[in-house]
Amino acid sequence: MTRYLAARAAHALLLLSGISVLSFVFFQLAPGDFFSDLRLNPSISAETVAALRAQYGLDQPLHVKYFRWLTSVAQGEFGYSFSYHSPAAPLLLARAHNTLFLTIPATILAWLLAVPLGTWAAARAGEWPDRVSAAGASALLSVPDLLLALGVLALAVHTGAFPVGGMVSLGYEQLGAWEKVRDILSHAFLPVTALALTILPTLLRHVRAAMVEALAAPFVKASRAHGLPRRSVMRHALRVAANPLISLFGLTLGNLLGASLLIEVILSWPGMGPLLLEAISARDFHVVIGAVMFSAVAFIGGNFAADVLLYAADPRIRTK
C-alpha cells in the first residue's frame, strides 16, 4: 500500500514543482515588475528604482529568484508581498480561509443535492424525473458562471432580502457574538447558493451516469430476480458507482480554491479571487505565484486524496 501511495505522492510533488517552475519562467518573461510604475513618476530617479530592485532581488537571474522563493516557501513565508509589505503566506492563508468558507458549504450542498437527485433520475431513467432533471442540469450548465453570478446579484438587489456584497456589514465590530455569526452567514448565503448552482449540474450528470452504469450491471438484475427489495439493491449499486464518484469527489476537492473566483469578485467576497486580481494589477508577483500555487496544491491534493480513497475503497486496485 505504501509503495503505491508513495509513488502517487512523488508524482504529485513533481507536478507541483513543475508548476512552480513554469510560473517563474513566466515571471522572468514578463516585462516590468512591481517598480515599473514608479519609473513613470518623474520625481523618483532611475537610480532609486534600481536600488529598490536590487534590494528586493528583482534584478537577479531566474534561478536565483527561484531558489530564494523556494527557501521562503520552506520557511513558510511564500515570498514577499510588495503591496502589503508583509510575507505573502499570512495574506494567502487568510484569504484562502475566506474562500473555503464559501466553497466547502457550497460543495457539500451540491453533493447533498446531486447524489439523491442523480440516483433517483438513474433509477427512473427515461421517465419524467430523469428528463426533468437532465433538462434542468443542461439549462444550468449552459449558463456561464459570470452570468449566474450577475443574475444572483441582480436578484439580491431587487428582492433586498440579502446583503449585497462583502463578507461583513458596517459596524460588524460592535455586534455581539451570535449576531456576528448571523451577519457573516447572511452575507455568505448568496455566494454559496450561486457557487452551488455552478457545481451542481456537472455533478448531477456524473452521479446519474455512474448510477445508470452501476444499475446496468448483471448483479442488479440477479438481485431483483432473487426478490431483494429495491432499497438494498440501490445501496449495492451505489457501492459500485462509488468508484467513479470518488474520483469525482477528488476533483471537486481540487476545485475548492479555484471555483469561486468570479463569484467572489462580483459579490465582493474577500477571498483568493479578489486578492489575485489586486496582485495582478499591482504586479505583486509573489502573491500571484502564491495564489496559483495554493490552488494548484488544492487541485493536485484533491486528486491525491481521490487516489487514496480509491485505493482504500476499491479492492481491485490493491491486488494489481
Binding site: L15, L22, P144, L150, N255, V265, L277, S281
Partner: protein, 344 residues
C-alpha cells in the same frame, strides 16, 4: 434515432450560423456607429416601437418618439409625442466594413436625426447598446474561434508527435500535458495575463488574449488526438502502406490524420464557447479588451456599479447574447457527441 439526431444537428448548426452571420454583418444591422456618443442621452431606455399614433391610427411603418427631460421632474425622461420619427428600413448611414474587406453604407434600420433609434438603450456615454452589442460580439466571438483554432492546431501537432513517434516524445509531451491539465484554468489564465503588460491597446489586448488562451488549452485536444493516432498507427492498412514504401508524412496525411476529424470537431464545439467565455471574463475583470472598443465583457463590467445594476436593465443585453450563444454551442456539442456515439 439516427435520423432525428442528424436533423437536430443541422438545425442547431443553421441557428448558430445565422447568429454568427448577424454578428459578422454587425455594421449592416447597427443603426448607429458603436463609438458614437450622445452625451445628452446617457443610460437612455430602449426606444419603444409604436404602430398606433396619438390619434389612434395604425401605421404599418413603426415609429419612435424622442426622449426629452420631463417638464415636472428633471431627472426623469418622457417621450415627446408631438413629433413621430418613422423607422426607415435599408437606409444609407455611416460607412462600415464587413470582415475588413467589403465597404458599405447600407443599414437595415435607421431613423431621422433627432430621435435616434436605441433598440436596447444607451450606456453611460450615450452610445447605442444594440450597435455596441453586435460589434462587441465580433470581438468576443472571433477571439473564441481563433483561440480555439490555436489550441486545436497546437493540440493536434503535439498529440500527433506524441502518438506517432512514441517513446520519448510521447512521455515528454504527455507529462507536459498533465502539467497543463493540473492547473486551475481561471487562475492560470489570470496568472499568465498578469505577467504581460497591463496597459495595452484593444487590438494588442485582443491578440494577446487570443494567443494566451489558445496556448493554455492545448492539453486535452492533444491527449485525444494522441489516442486516435496511436490506434490508427497500428492498423493493418497502415502497415501495408509501409510495406509498399509509404513515408511517415504520407501515412499521416492520408490515413491517420483524417481519423481525427470527429474528435477535433467535438472539441471545437466545446472549446469555442469556453474561450469566448474566457475573453468575456478577462475583459470583464479589466484585463482584456478595453475602451473604447466594445466586447461583451467590458460592456458587462459596468453592471458592477450599484446604480447600473438596479436601474438600467438593458445593460444586461450582452449577458443575453452570451447566453444565447452558449446555449447554441452547448446544443451543438451535445448533438455532435450523440452523433459520434451513435456511429460507434
Amino acid at each position: 434515432m439516427k435520423m432525428a439526431s442528424r436533423k437536430r444537428l443541422w438545425v442547431v448548426l443553421a441557428m448558430l450560423a445565422a447568429m454568427h452571420a448577424v454578428v459578422l454583418l454587425a455594421g449592416f444591422f447597427s443603426p448607429h456607429h458603436p463609438a458614437r456618443q450622445n452625451r445628452m442621452a446617457p443610460f437612455a431606455a430602449p426606444s419603444r416601437l409604436r404602430f398606433v399614433d396619438e390619434q389612434g391610427q395604425f401605421h404599418f411603418r413603426p415609429f419612435v418618439y424622442a426622449r426629452v427631460p420631463h417638464p415636472a421632474d428633471p431627472r426623469a425622461r418622457t417621450e415627446a409625442r408631438a413629433r413621430a420619427y418613422p423607422v426607415r428600413f435599408f437606409v444609407e448611414g455611416w460607412e462600415y466594413q464587413v470582415a475588413g474587406v467589403f465597404r458599405s453604407r447600407l443599414h437595415l434600420l435607421g431613423a431621422d436625426e433627432g430621435a435616434p433609434l436605441f433598440l436596447l438603450g444607451t450606456d453611460e456615454y450615450g452610445r447605442d447598446v444594440f450597435s455596441r452589442l453586435l460589434h462587441g460580439g465580433q470581438i468576443s466571438l472571433l477571439a473564441g474561434v481563433l483561440a480555439a483554432g490555436l489550441s486545436l492546431a497546437l493540440g493536434t501537432a503535439l498529440g500527433t508527435l506524441a502518438g506517432f513517434f512514441g517513446r520519448w516524445a510521447d512521455a515528454g509531451i504527455m507529462r507536459l500535458a498533465e502539467l497543463f491539465l493540473s492547473l486551475p484554468w481561471v487562475y492560470l489564465l489570470l496568472a499568465v495575463r498578469a505577467f504581460l503588460p497591463l496597459h495595452i491597446s484593444p487590438a494588442e489586448a485582443f491578440l494577446l488574449i487570443t494567443v494566451v488562451v489558445g496556448m493554455i488549452g492545448w492539453a486535452r485536444p492533444a491527449r485525444l488526438v494522441r489516442g486516435v493516432v496511436l490506434s490508427a498507427k497500428e492498423r493493418t492498412y497502415v502497415l501495408a502502406a509501409r510495406g509498399f514504401g509509404a513515408s511517415n508524412f504520407y501515412l499521416l496525411r492520408k490515413h491517420i490524420l483524417p481519423q481525427t476529424h470527429g474528435v477535433l470537431l467535438t472539441q471545437a464545439s466545446l472549446l469555442i464557447p469556453q474561450y469566448i467565455l474566457a475573453e468575456v471574463t478577462l475583459s470583464f475583470l479589466g484585463l482584456g479588451v478595453g475602451e473604447p472598443a466594445s466586447s461583451w465583457g467590458n460592456m458587462l463590467s459596468s453592471l458592477q456599479q450599484y446604480h447600473v445594476l438596479t436601474s438600467y436593465w438593458w445593460m444586461f443585453a450582452p449577458g443575453g447574447a452570451l447566453l444565447l450563444f452558449a446555449q447554441g454551442f452547448f446544443l451543438l456539442a451535445s448533438a455532435l457527441q450523440e452523433r459520434a456515439s451513435g456511429s460507434l
